[in-house]
Point group: D2
Chain length 351, copies 4
């Protein structure tokens, strides 16, 4: 094995990323080295590329990005027995401490000392990535490579949908970016009844319908709340899945929620949001879940089971693939591409 590898890194506190040569990570006794097959670009990566306010506060260069990937185990630390070289794997990139209050409560996904691989330490936009053994997720070979690559954001969608009852429930998905589209597919696979989606972009609305939405609404040109209420006997939607990042979409989503309904919030608005708590939450007796990351590891079980059983149809999301070296094309595509995933290949694009 060589001593160095190529990696896509934030080297300086400024816009852009650079391809660099770095040492292959050295393993501790409970760690695993994975040879990356493919990695996908997340919206967060775009923020870091652009070096926005959030990035400036969180990212400490130099660091290798990339937290959505799959690959093959190359080596394991001396204490590791749960996985072996040659296995096909992905990984949960949120690393929890195991001993804070949330970890002790069975909620390591909101660990007080959480570190994210690809954000707080070197990630998967590289030939190899180092992962704690307990974060490795072994994959059945029946899982297609493109699905295996995006288990992180797909897990976000599954976590959002399955945070409460979904079967036989009417659903509103606010925002139809990649995670919103995945949420539509997951809700449909899990027995939701009517799925409403709101999205201002026409192309994304068309994608939403392709993924399984029954009614795709443009809130800029139609009173979405009135429409949803009229199609639900005046009640509103049983379930709100908020993935838009947008304050007015959030407010609208809450207004469209029925009394006694459930709202799962995943989207990350840039600023605080003003809510009509009395009418939209309290008098409604609503249940609201903040959704972050993926349940460790029930979300991974659910996600891979749904894929393996053929319940999820995500093919419209895929298409573009590039070797890691051509990362600028990938980032550029995504800045214009509206709702798809672009895959990067640090070890070469397979035929």
């Amino acid at each position: 094995m060589p001593a160095t590898m190529k990696a896509l890194r934030k080297l300086r506190p400024a816009r852009g990323l650079e391809l660099a040569s770095v040492s292959i990570p050295v393993l501790g006794p409970t760690e695993v080295l994975v040879r990356v097959r493919s990695a996908s670009v997340c919206g967060t990566d775009l923020h870091i590329y652009g070096w926005d306010r959030w990035s400036q506060n969180r990212i400490q260069p130099p660091v290798t990005l990339g937290h959505e990937f799959c690959g093959t185990v190359e080596r394991v630390g001396e204490e590791v027995s749960s996985v072996a070289p040659g296995e096909f794997v992905s990984a949960e990139m949120h690393v929890s401490c195991g001993h804070c209050r949330p970890c002790r409560a069975g909620q390591p996904h909101v660990c007080q000392n959480l570190r994210i691989i690809g954000i707080d330490q070197d990630g998967a936009f590289a030939e190899f990535v180092r992962i704690p053994a307990q974060n490795i997720w072994r994959l059945d070979s029946a899982i297609p490579e493109n699905y295996a690559t995006i288990l992180d954001p797909l897990g976000n969608a599954v976590h959002t949908v399955l945070a409460g009852p979904i079967a036989g429930q009417t659903v509103l998905v606010t925002g139809c970016g990649p995670i919103g589209l995945m949420a539509i597919a997951v809700a449909k696979a899990c027995g939701s009844s009517t799925i409403f989606a709101t999205e201002v972009n026409e192309q994304r609305r068309a994608m939403a319908v392709k993924m399984g939405a029954d009614v795709a609404l443009d809130p800029a040109s139609e009173d979405a709340v009135a429409r949803i209420q009229s199609e639900t006997d005046g009640a509103g939607a049983d379930v709100l899945l908020e993935v838009s990042d947008n304050a007015s979409a959030i407010q609208q989503g809450f207004r469209a929620l029925r009394p006694g309904g459930r709202a799962s919030l995943l989207g990350i608005p840039a600023d605080p949001v003003t809510l009509d708590l009395v009418n939209d939450v309290i008098f409604k007796g609503a249940t609201v879940h903040g959704i972050y990351g993926r349940r460790m590891f029930e979300t991974w079980v659910q996600t891979t089971a749904l894929i393996k059983a053929g319940r999820l149809h995500l093919d419209p999301l895929f298409g573009e693939r590039r070797p890691l070296e051509r990362f600028e094309e990938a980032f550029s595509l995504l800045q214009n591409d509206l709702a798809g995933k672009v895959l990067l290949y640090p070890n070469g694009v397979p035929r």
Copy 2:
């Protein structure tokens, strides 16, 4: 309106049923009279026909049978405003008292003073049936008549499947009679992953596969527990849906359940059952739900939503239809027919 109607009744404490002419029911202020469109025959009706031990203890002749049906509202009592003549409806036939401990706990389906229409008082195998207004379930005209007729047993299946998490879970259905088959279809519609079914009858196993089972096992010729464990990495099934009525199927189902799994028990074994509580429930940390009737009325919401959204494919269950007068043919068919539903028409079979 005439003063009398025809009804299929148990008139004497003996085998058999008789077609009789009875008065059309008089309504109290909170009751509704429904003109029956179609009614289906339940296994319980076969027991009452045969006058078995259970029937002898429970049934007090004379009484009109029939607790699965749909129809049109004919008249409503003076205090009734929630439904109007002409509406297409079915009904929850379990009538709860509203003030016992389970009713006050939001569990009217296990009311201490429960009375069942079609068992404890006159039911729907008649031209008209009298129902408390609060038990009426209004139906969208998009619900096909045959699905509308069997909402009672289909609701049993939905209640069983949705008593705990199902999406992304491996499932074992023990017993493939009509409710077992419906449970398979419901589990599949709600995102279960692999569905195992056990059933000794070959024809029913074939039906199970048609309804969505991935693996249909004959426990008489194969070690079903070993097979399920080997296909689940040694864990066992996440969820057991027990609808067989059979003691050894129940025992086998519990053995095949994974540690931490969920068992929902609907089947009614004739005698007490000996369970290895320590290994199959306690050390497993299993959760077991007794399932009776349908949640009022969340199960009805879920069931009709799943149908309306086109998520359930139950057509293989249907086929035979008869006017009420030819009830003997229906009962005879069912004693031999293995897994289908037979519909009776008290007001004539539509073309």
Copy 3:
């Protein structure tokens, strides 16, 4: 029985209330007439007295106020068998329709067609009050009269506390008015560990400690969030019970909530509230419950069981009692009295 009775009514769309003589209510077949023993004054009654913005939109004079009470059944309608004359009762004053989506989901407390007795129709500040039989709550004679009178607001507190896990959890109660004080007593009775309370009023903080709070903080003079975090290993409180009506208390409560924690919101802020959704709900993976009314009727079961078993110590809340005629004294006391309940007696104050 006389034909008329005295009642405390809003007769005109203006500040103030008036004692009037009105007809004793006539019963429908499913209704119950209760002779009122005592009734307590709610903060809502103060708002209606003062004729604030909310009152002007909601109240349609003339109407008799009063929705917290106990009494003795005087007469029942012809269809009523669940309660009999002479029984000691209170009642759930939120009347649900029974057939809207939330009612069908087992959530009648957020019925879309909810009507409140004492707000939308004549209430219990009168010698007699008319109640639907299904809303009557029969009381064990072991329940003291003063506790029986305040089951409505005490039920609010129980609903808030028991909306999620409480045993062994650290709790923050924001706001120490009557319901906040009751929430402290309920949380303590249900096994909470450390109870923090925030309240700007010194007298109420002293009451909070008397009711069971371990740490009563004045957010005006101390950084309550920092204090709570420092006493919980940096985590924050497991549970937030928000009963303050105050936007900055709500914001502070959310900041003091631990990742993975639960917030139950009962207080009714006058205006929309700006929340840092990202940091306080989403990244925290928090669960938020809007709390309205009482679960029908599990909250009533829990509340009366806690009282009967001697688990709740609410005596500091009681003291002032007045005949209905001296209502002005009661309202005046409450405008200055900080955290107690005043009881009115329409049929005379017992010795």
Copy 4:
């Protein structure tokens, strides 16, 4: 530090235990060495002493017993940062694998590859015990030593009580050995209403009342089911906590459970149990939980929080203390002592 220590061991496949000198354990990188302060004797230890059928199948001599203890951290492995020498600790002695299906579902307490320290590998009846760092539970110095010693069985009781709703619920505890008595104290601390207890031994019934039971029944001389129903308006108990190990107590407990109730089963009957599944589980719509070990680590959070907040009054359980060398006295006391805990001190009894 010396190279050897004294330990109480099963050396041979036969009745009895022996005090022996063994090497002090060598630590792996993720392990912790604890100097044992005190350890208590479990019923399981009595079984192993007596070398019953279960012991013969499970125990592989030589092994040091002891799985209930507290102590002080002596040394930590090189990868351990969550705990430091000198800290006061106890430990979860069930060691889970972290990667089987139940572990991945957040249910490590029913891990498929579970190993128990003190059963499957050397335990805490020794001067030192070796524990994986993730199993260490750090203790506040406010926790008294005797409470700290019995966190394992007390955690069993807490797990049993808090497996479902308890506040405002009527409770039946079947069996009043040490865990049954603790369950009574825990249920009372968590807001249960009436607590019924059944137990044939008179002394234990007296203890049950001392711990908080409202009604202690002798099922040998009274119809306990009839009594419980008559004191619950004919409904039965809301919650069954089964800790008796006895088949007829289990059957009786199920008969005394109300429709819609919850049964948590911890007791380990020696043989399979025949249940009237139809009437006692299915028609009742009961929920049954198998209880094993403690939730990792929410049960530990709850248990220590309840102790620290002064909610649990367990003093009647304590009394006897012995140096490890006088273990025969301890075991002999327990074979006759009915419901107390005996503490052993490997490093000397403090004054």
